[in-house]
C-alpha cells in the first residue's frame, strides 16, 4: 500500500498549515523595496556613494558572520536582517564619508546593538539608527561634510536643506518667510555635471512647486538613500499591502510631525501660527527613510495598535522639537532612539483577552 509500519512519521505539532512570508522573506522584501532609492542615490552622488554602500553592507555581513559564528555557534546570515541593517545604515550616511565610518558603524550596529543583547529580535534599539547616532557623535566632522548631487567628483559643496534651515534659525535673515526660500536661493551648486540625468531632474522638478520637486526627487545635498522621498514612499506601498510594515507607526509619525510642522513651524521665522512649511519638513532629511523603514522595524516597536500609535506620535513630536530647537539640524535618529526606550512600557497598553473584557 505504500505506507508500512516502518516509515513512522514524527509527531509534528499542530497547526500543519502556514501562510504568509517568513522572517527572511520579510527582510528581503524590505531590501528590495529600498533598492530604488539607493540606486537613485548612487546615480546622483556618484561612485563614492556606491563604495559607502558596499562597505556598510559588507562590514555588516562580516560582523554578523563573525559574531554569530564565534559566540552563538550558528550562522544567521540567511535571515536577511544583517543585510537590511547594513543597507539602511549606508543610506543614512553622507556620500563623502571616509570608508572607515560605514565599517565602524556597521560593526557597532551588529556587534554591540544587536548581538550583544541576544541577536535577532532581542535588541531594544534600532541597529541602523543607533549606529548612525554613534557615528554622528564620534566623527561629527566627516559626517557633516555634504556633497551636492550630480556634482563633479571632487567638488564638495552645498548644504542640506535642513542645514540651511538650522542656520537661518540662528542667523535670521530679514524677510524670510520659510526655509524653502533658502533652498531655492541655494539650489545652484557649482560644478554641475550636465547630462541626461540632470535634464530629467530639471524637467521632473518643474512638475511640482519650485524647490519641493527637487526635494522630493532628492536633488539636494544629503545622505545617500534619504533624498528621494518619492522613491522611498513608492517602495513602501508594497510593504504596506503585504502587511510587512504596520501602517500605524508611519501614519502617526508623519501625521503628528506634519501637523506640528504646519502649526508651529512658522513661528521661528515669524510667520505666525498655522503657517509652517509642512511640505518642506516632510520632504527634508531622513524623515521618509526614518518613518517608513526604521521606526516601523518590528523588533523595536510596540506590538499592539494603541502602543504603535503613541509611538508614532512620540516620534513625530520629538523629531519636530529636535529639528527646531536641537543643536543638530536632523532629529529623526535621536527621536526614534528615544522612543525605542519606551517600547516595553507601550507594550502594556491596550488589548485584553475577550473574557477579561467580559468580566469588567
Amino acid at each position: 500500500m505504500g505506507y508500512g509500519p516502518g516509515s513512522a512519521l514524527r509527531p509534528f505539532p499542530a497547526p500543519h498549515l502556514h501562510e504568509g512570508p517568513t522572517t527572511a522573506g520579510m527582510m528581503f522584501s524590505v531590501v528590495l523595496c529600498l533598492l530604488p532609492a539607493g540606486i537613485w542615490g548612487v546615480l546622483l552622488f556618484g561612485q563614492r556613494a556606491l563604495h559607502v554602500l558596499l562597505v556598510s553592507v559588507g562590514a555588516s555581513l562580516l560582523t554578523e558572520l563573525a559574531v554569530s559564528g564565534l559566540f552563538l555557534r550558528r550562522f544567521t546570515l540567511a535571515d536577511g536582517s544583517a543585510l537590511l541593517t547594513g543597507l539602511l545604515l549606508g543610506y543614512s550616511l553622507p556620500p563623502a564619508v571616509p570608508l572607515f565610518i560605514p565599517a565602524a558603524a556597521s560593526f557597532f550596529a551588529i556587534a554591540v546593538i544587536k548581538q550583544s543583547f541576544g541577536g535577532l529580535g532581542r535588541n531594544w534599539l534600532n541597529p541602523a539608527l543607533g549606529a548612525r547616532v554613534f557615528v554622528m557623535f564620534s566623527w561629527t566632522g566627516p559626517m557633516t561634510r555634504w556633497q551636492a548631487p550630480l556634482a563633479a567628483a571632487d567638488v564638495l559643496s552645498g548644504a542640506t536643506p535642513l542645514g540651511l534651515a538650522k542656520e537661518a534659525l540662528s542667523h535670521p535673515v530679514p524677510g524670510l518667510r520659510g526655509p524653502i526660500e533658502l533652498l531655492l536661493a541655494g539650489l545652484r551648486p557649482s560644478g554641475l555635471r550636465a547630462g541626461p540625468l540632470s535634464d530629467l531632474l530639471q524637467r521632473l522638478g518643474r512638475l511640482a512647486p519650485a524647490g519641493y520637486g527637487q526635494m522630493a526627487l532628492g536633488n539636494v545635498a544629503g545622505c545617500i538613500g534619504e533624498g528621494s522621498a518619492l522613491l522611498l514612499a513608492l517602495g513602501s506601498i508594497y510593504l504596506f499591502v503585504k502587511k510587512i510594515i504596520a501602517w500605524e507607526i508611519p501614519a502617526a509619525y508623519l501625521g503628528s510631525f506634519g501637523l506640528l510642522a504646519w502649526a508651529f513651524g512658522g513661528l521661528p521665522f515669524g510667520a505666525g501660527l498655522f503657517r509652517g512649511d509642512a511640505a518642506f519638513h516632510l520632504l527634508a532629511g531622513g524623515l521618509a527613510l526614518g518613518a517608513l523603514y526604521m521606526a516601523a522595524d518590528p523588533v523595536t516597536s510596540p506590538l499592539k495598535r494603541p502602543g504603535r500609535l503613541i509611538f508614532g506620535l512620540g516620534c513625530g513630536a520629538l523629531t519636530f522639537l529636535l529639528r527646531t530647537w536641537g543643536s543638530q539640524p536632523e532629529g529623526v535618529a535621536l527621536a526614534v532612539v528615544l522612543m525605542n526606550m519606551f517600547v516595553p512600557l507601550l507594550n502594556r497598553i491596550g488589548g485584553r483577552p475577550i473574557s477579561r473584557e467580559a468580566e469588567q
Binding site: 505504500g2 509500519p5 497547526p15 520579510m26 529580535g121 532581542r122 506590538l303 488589548g351 483577552p353 467580559a358
Partner: protein
C-alpha cells in the same frame, strides 16, 4: 446585499480546499473485519469480557462515569480482547476489540420511521441517551437560543457540507426534536456563505417542515466552527455578554445522530468522516463504523498518491499527527487529512521579531508571542496573566507567524507544566 457576518476579532482565512471532497457524495465505507471501541478504565465502565458475543448496537461500555452515556458495538461479533490501545490523539485508553461475526441486526433491517411527535419529552431524552448520542437529562428547557453549528470546524473537512446537501430533511427533523426538548426562544443556523448548494438544500427542508429558524450566512473564516467565535458571529458580542447562560449549541453530526436515534431507533454506530488531502488519491466522504482502523479508510480512498508529509486525524489546524495507521475512528473524528509536501510548506524556525501578527490573528485577543516568551523563561504567572489558560490551541497564531515558531506546542506544554493554583 448585506455583508455576511463573522466574529469580530482575529482569525484567519485559509485557502478553501474543501473542493477536493465537497463534490463527492457520502457513501458507506466497507464494514471492517475488526473494530476498536474505547471505554473507560474505571470498574463498571466496560460491560463485556473477552470471549463474549456482542450484537450490533449492543452497549459495550461507558466512556465516562457510571451514569455517562454508553458506547455501542458498531459491528456484530465476538470480543477478542479488552486491552490498551493508542487513540488518534495519542492518548492511551482501554478498548474493546471486536472481530466481525454474525448478522447485522440493526442495519440490515429496514425499520419504519418512529412517529417522534407522539413521544413525550422525557421519552425523547431517554432515547437519545440510551442510543449513545448525548445526555440531555440535565439540559433545561427554555434556553434562550439554540444555535446549530453548520460551519466545519476545520479547513479541508466537507462532511458537514455533504450532510446539508444530501440529508437536509433529516437534519431539520433532528433539529425539530431538539427544539421540542429544549424549547428555545430562537433557533439560528450558521452556515458559510459560499456553500450555496447546502444553503439552498437547508432552506428548502426548513420551509418544507415549516420550521421557524434563521439561517444565517457567515463569512468564511477560521475558527468560526469553534463555539465562542460562532456565537459572537451569530448573536453579536454585546448580546453574548448579557446572557452567558441560556444558549445551547449543537452541530450537524449531532442532529443527524438525534434523528437516527429517535426516528430510526438506531444507536450511534457510524459517523461521517472526510478523507482528504492532496496526498490521497481519491478523497471521499465516508460513512464509517466507529472503531474502524484509520488505515482502512485510506485504502478505500485509493491509498496515497504520494508519501504524505503529514497524516492527520482531525483537521490541518488542530489535528494530531499520526505516526501510524492503527488508530480507531471515534465519535469525535471528523476528518483524516493526508497532506503532501506542497501543502505544508516547511520553513526553519527563526527568533521572534515581535511583528505582532500572532496577536492580531488570535480570536480571543491573547498575545501568543508574549505567552510563549514567558513560558520559555518559566514565568508561569506572567504566561497566565497574558492568557495562557484561555488558549484553545486553535492554531491561528502559529499559522501566521513569519518566524514559524511552534506557538501552539509551546502553549500546550506550558498548560501541562504550569503549577496548580
Amino acid at each position: 446585499m448585506r455583508q455576511a457576518r463573522t466574529f469580530p476579532r482575529g482569525g484567519i482565512v485559509p485557502p478553501d480546499r474543501t473542493a477536493l471532497s465537497a463534490g463527492i457524495p457520502i457513501r458507506n465505507a466497507c464494514v471492517p473485519a475488526e473494530v476498536v471501541i474505547p471505554v473507560g478504565r474505571q470498574p463498571g465502565q466496560c460491560l463485556v469480557r473477552p470471549g463474549d458475543t456482542v450484537s450490533e448496537g449492543m452497549a459495550v461500555g461507558r466512556a465516562g462515569g457510571p451514569d455517562s452515556i454508553s458506547v455501542h458495538a458498531s459491528i456484530p461479533g465476538r470480543v477478542r480482547e479488552v486491552g490498551e490501545r493508542i487513540l488518534a490523539d495519542g492518548s492511551r485508553s482501554l478498548a474493546v476489540v471486536i472481530d466481525l461475526q454474525g448478522e447485522f441486526t440493526v442495519s440490515a433491517r429496514a425499520r419504519p420511521p418512529v412517529e417522534w411527535e407522539t413521544l413525550s419529552v422525557p421519552e425523547l431524552r431517554e432515547r437519545i441517551r440510551e442510543h449513545g448520542v448525548a445526555d440531555l437529562s440535565a439540559a433545561q428547557a427554555g434556553a434562550g437560543c439554540l444555535v446549530v453549528n453548520g460551519v466545519e470546524r476545520e479547513p479541508y473537512i466537507s462532511a458537514g457540507q455533504r450532510l446539508m446537501i444530501e440529508h437536509a430533511p433529516e437534519l431539520i427533523t433532528g433539529l425539530q426534536i431538539l427544539r421540542r426538548i429544549l424549547e428555545p426562544a430562537e433557533v439560528v443556523f450558521g452556515v458559510e456563505e459560499g456553500r450555496c448548494e447546502a444553503l439552498e438544500s437547508l432552506g428548502r427542508a426548513a420551509e418544507a417542515a415549516a420550521l421557524d429558524c434563521r439561517i444565517e450566512p457567515l463569512q468564511p473564516r477560521y475558527p468560526q466552527g469553534a463555539e465562542r467565535p460562532l456565537l459572537e458571529a451569530l448573536l453579536g458580542r454585546s448580546r453574548l455578554r448579557s446572557k452567558t447562560a441560556g444558549t445551547a449549541v449543537t452541530d450537524l453530526a449531532s442532529l443527524y445522530s438525534i434523528y437516527e436515534a429517535v426516528v430510526l431507533d438506531k444507536p450511534l454506530l457510524e459517523r461521517i468522516v472526510t478523507v482528504t488531502g492532496l496526498a490521497v488519491r481519491r478523497p471521499a466522504n465516508l460513512k464509517v463504523r466507529l472503531g474502524t482502523r484509520v488505515g482502512n479508510l485510506f485504502e478505500e480512498c485509493g491509498g496515497f498518491s504520494e508519501p504524505p508529509a503529514r497524516l492527520l486525524a482531525g483537521g490541518p489546524m488542530m489535528g494530531s499527527c499520526q505516526s501510524g495507521l492503527e488508530a480507531p475512528v471515534t465519535r469525535e473524528l471528523e476528518g483524516l487529512v493526508a497532506l503532501s509536501r506542497s501543502e505544508i510548506g516547511r520553513a526553519a524556525e527563526t527568533p521572534c521579531i515581535g511583528c505582532g501578527r500572532c496577536a492580531s490573528a488570535c480570536p480571543w485577543g491573547l498575545m501568543p508571542g508574549e505567552i510563549y516568551k514567558a513560558l520559555e523563561h518559566r514565568l508561569f504567572a506572567e504566561a497566565e496573566a497574558a492568557g495562557l489558560t484561555e488558549c484553545t490551541e486553535c492554531g491561528c497564531c502559529a499559522y501566521v507567524c513569519p518566524a514559524r515558531i511552534p506557538l501552539v506546542a509551546g502553549m500546550r506544554q506550558g498548560k501541562s507544566r504550569a503549577p496548580e493554583g
